[in-house]
């Protein structure tokens, strides 16, 4: 699975017309190193774990489970969780259940627009193996083929309690420094891109949405 990083620093952006090539960056994403001092990295991870800003993008039916999180009953604010309407400022992407091919395209865009370190939680069974949509003509079966996933909260659907539990598990994982999805994505970029392009047939966007 570990492909060697393509040495060529630019992407082809073959999905774009010649004019559009001018308008989108063709730079290849780069992986980032942890801070050289361990204590700083740990501290940074602690801060990241305690300030989880979730991208407000309900990608599937599970999005409905996200809403109660902010209510008095679950109050995810306690854990430093907050919603954020723009991917630039978010650090957590919660995939709300099944992802159709059409939505996958938008998920990829949004994911790539997020700034690292970034974390992905998949809700429900569908992102794992298709769930009840295992034989659908437009729902992908294995989400981690396209985007690196840090955590699965399985079930159909998992309840908000499960979501809270998964957030706490994510925090633990971040603090342990095990959430390197963004780097994995970059390191295996060509493999991910090939998978994405295999299912998304009208690839009319740049290869990496900066």
């Amino acid at each position: 699975m570990k492909n060697s990083l393509n040495t060529d620093d630019t992407l082809e952006n073959s999905g774009l017309t010649e004019e559009e090539q001018l308008l989108f960056s063709n730079a290849r994403p780069r992986a980032y190193e942890p801070y050289p001092i361990k204590a700083v990295e740990d501290f940074a991870n602690w801060a990241r774990a305690n300030s989880l800003w979730i991208l407000a993008f309900g990608t599937g039916c599970g999005a409905i489970e996200l809403r109660p999180l902010m209510t008095a009953r679950f109050d995810a604010n306690r854990f430093g969780v907050a919603g954020r309407p723009t991917p630039r400022q978010s650090s957590v992407f919660i995939i709300g259940g099944y992802a159709s091919v059409k939505t996958l395209k938008r998920i990829i865009r949004s994911y790539e627009q997020m700034q690292g370190p970034k974390f992905v939680i998949c809700l429900g069974i569908c992102p794992i193996n298709g769930g009840m949509y295992f034989d659908s003509y437009n729902t992908i079966n294995q989400f981690d083929q396209y985007i690196p996933v840090d955590l699965y909260a399985t079930g159909c659907m998992p309840r908000p309690e499960a979501l809270v539990a998964s957030i706490m598990a994510l925090q633990k994982k971040i603090k342990a420094g095990e959430c390197d999805g963004a780097n994995r994505y970059v390191e295996n970029f060509d493999w991910y891109k090939a998978n994405q392009k295999k299912v998304i047939k009208n690839w009319d966007m740049p290869d990496y949405n900066w």
């Binding site: 059409k102 395209k105 298709g130 295992f134 034989d135 003509y137 992908i140 295999k198 009208n202």
Partner: protein, 180 residues
């Protein structure tokens, strides 16, 4: 209602008239006279609203049945107009001239069933599916499971159970799934 049906029978030769509910009647009409009949219903009989139009694939009979659902606001009556078209020659007259919004339905039918509505606007554009490259997915000869496995892959470890059998085991584990 009966008057109308009699008249339609007389003028257009509709058949298969079925009263499904007090307010809903369906009937079948020939492909050639369908558009004229719908126009007549809209302009003369007050069926001014197009609820929806959809399609049923009768692969065994080699036909698509198009369903136009019309509604009369004054009488609060609905009419379902069924039109059979051949699966081989899947052309149908466009009714976007009658209801502008019909082109959306027609785009969808084009994408999902491959039915052609010559003259309908933006027919060739993607509607729901972006970049679809196979036969239209709602046609029944399309094997969706095979397509899914081939395109989206298959994760090992998945197995399906008959819900009834599964629940028996779950509910009566001691009796080996026997409900008695």
């Amino acid at each position: 209602m009966n008057d109308l049906m009699e008249r339609l029978q007389r003028d257009f030769g509709v058949d298969d008239i079925t009263v499904r509910k007090p307010a809903l009647t369906t009937f079948r009409v020939k492909k050639d006279s369908a558009e004229t009949l719908i126009r007549e219903l809209r302009d003369r009989e007050g069926y001014t609203h197009l609820n929806f139009m959809t399609c049923i694939d009768y692969i065994e009979d080699g036909i698509f049945t198009l369903v136009y659902m019309l509604h009369n606001y004054d009488k609060k009556l609905s009419l379902g107009v069924h039109v059979d078209i051949s699966r081989e020659n899947e052309d149908m007259v466009s009714i976007h001239t009658l209801w502008a919004q019909a082109w959306t339905y027609q785009r969808e039918l084009r994408e999902m069933y491959g039915i052609n509505f010559p003259g309908s606007p933006r027919l060739e554009e993607d509607f729901c599916l972006e970049g679809w490259d196979d036969i239209p997915p709602m046609r029944r000869e399309f094997d969706t499971k095979e397509f899914s496995e081939q395109r989206f892959g298959h994760r090992e470890g998945r197995h399906s159970e008959e819900p009834r059998d599964h629940m028996k085991v779950e509910l009566y584990p001691n009796r080996g799934g026997d409900e008695k």
